[in-house]
């Protein structure tokens, strides 16, 4: 039997740099979807606190502690990025491994929200969308999760099957803005 080589979703596509902005692929570790069972919200948040020091996030929010990140990912749903899911979580929530389903991108550079302003129908400026804020939305016609990591960087999760399109859209916007700024 042949030896199969594991490839990340953007293996041959990234990193790229256009002007002052860089798009690279991130290894998030395990991606686990956590959806609380009815009436189990508080117990689930407690189990998450015990395991990772992170509660279940409010809509639009994310938090990070000790290499684990939890981000709100939809109605009654959050993604845990990094560690293996603690066994206690499954008592209070539907826990699903989605690691291979997502491409994780890091867009960075001063003013990189200008790139996303061309693609995402949300106001992502830091005054409105501070570090830690997260949203589900569209990047052109791709469904994404967008999280502001800091003043100059975003984590973008998109469907793995759309990784090529995501990179293409971002590259086009980055290149065009870089050309306009003469970089």
């Amino acid at each position: 039997m042949g030896e199969l080589e594991a490839r990340s979703p953007c293996d041959v596509l990234l990193p790229i740099t256009r002007g002052g902005w860089t798009l690279s692929e991130v290894d998030t570790g395990r991606i686990t979807s956590i959806a609380p069972f009815a009436g189990q919200e508080a117990a689930l948040s407690g189990a998450l606190q015990t395991a990772y020091g992170l509660g279940f996030p409010e809509p639009g929010h994310s938090a990070e502690a000790d290499g684990a990140r939890i981000l709100w990912s939809g109605r009654r749903q959050a993604f845990l990025l990094g560690p293996e899911p603690d066994a206690a979580l499954a008592r209070h929530a539907a826990v699903t491994d989605q690691s291979d389903g997502w491409a994780a991108l890091h867009l960075s550079g001063a003013g990189c929200e200008a790139v996303l302003a061309r693609l995402v129908p949300l106001d992502l400026r830091a005054e409105v969308f501070a570090p830690g804020c997260t949203a589900r939305s569209l990047l052109q016609h791709c469904h994404v999760s967008v999280t502001r990591l800091d003043d100059t960087g975003f984590l973008i999760l998109g469907y793995r099957s759309m990784a090529g399109t995501l990179v293409h859209e971002l590259d086009t916007a980055m290149s065009s803005l870089a050309a306009r700024s003469g970089a």
Partner: protein
């Protein structure tokens, strides 16, 4: 047009998909009879004015919502989670 998702806040129309009149939340009993089922499946009002429709915030949080808006003025009055309306019945 922007719609107010009760979870995400005001969002662009392109994030939503439209289903139709919120009357769909009021499913008749299985034995309600053919007239009730015919009305539920096929008969719709076509109001000039206030209307309540089901939308899904499909490219956002995924929630089904009921949006109240005015088909004459295009004003959007508000929105509620469909799940909460169902639970309130």
């Amino acid at each position: 047009m922007r719609l107010p998702c009760p979870i995400c806040g005001e969002r662009d129309l392109r994030e939503f998909s439209y289903l139709g009149d919120a009357v769909r939340l009021h499913r008749p009993a299985p034995d309600a009879g053919t007239d009730a089922w015919d009305a539920y499946l096929h008969l719709r009002d076509n109001p000039a004015g206030r209307t309540r429709d089901l939308w899904q915030h499909e490219a956002g949080c995924g929630a089904w919502i009921v949006v109240t808006r005015d088909t004459v003025s295009h004003a959007v009055e508000g929105a509620q989670l469909a799940a909460e309306m169902r639970d309130a019945d």
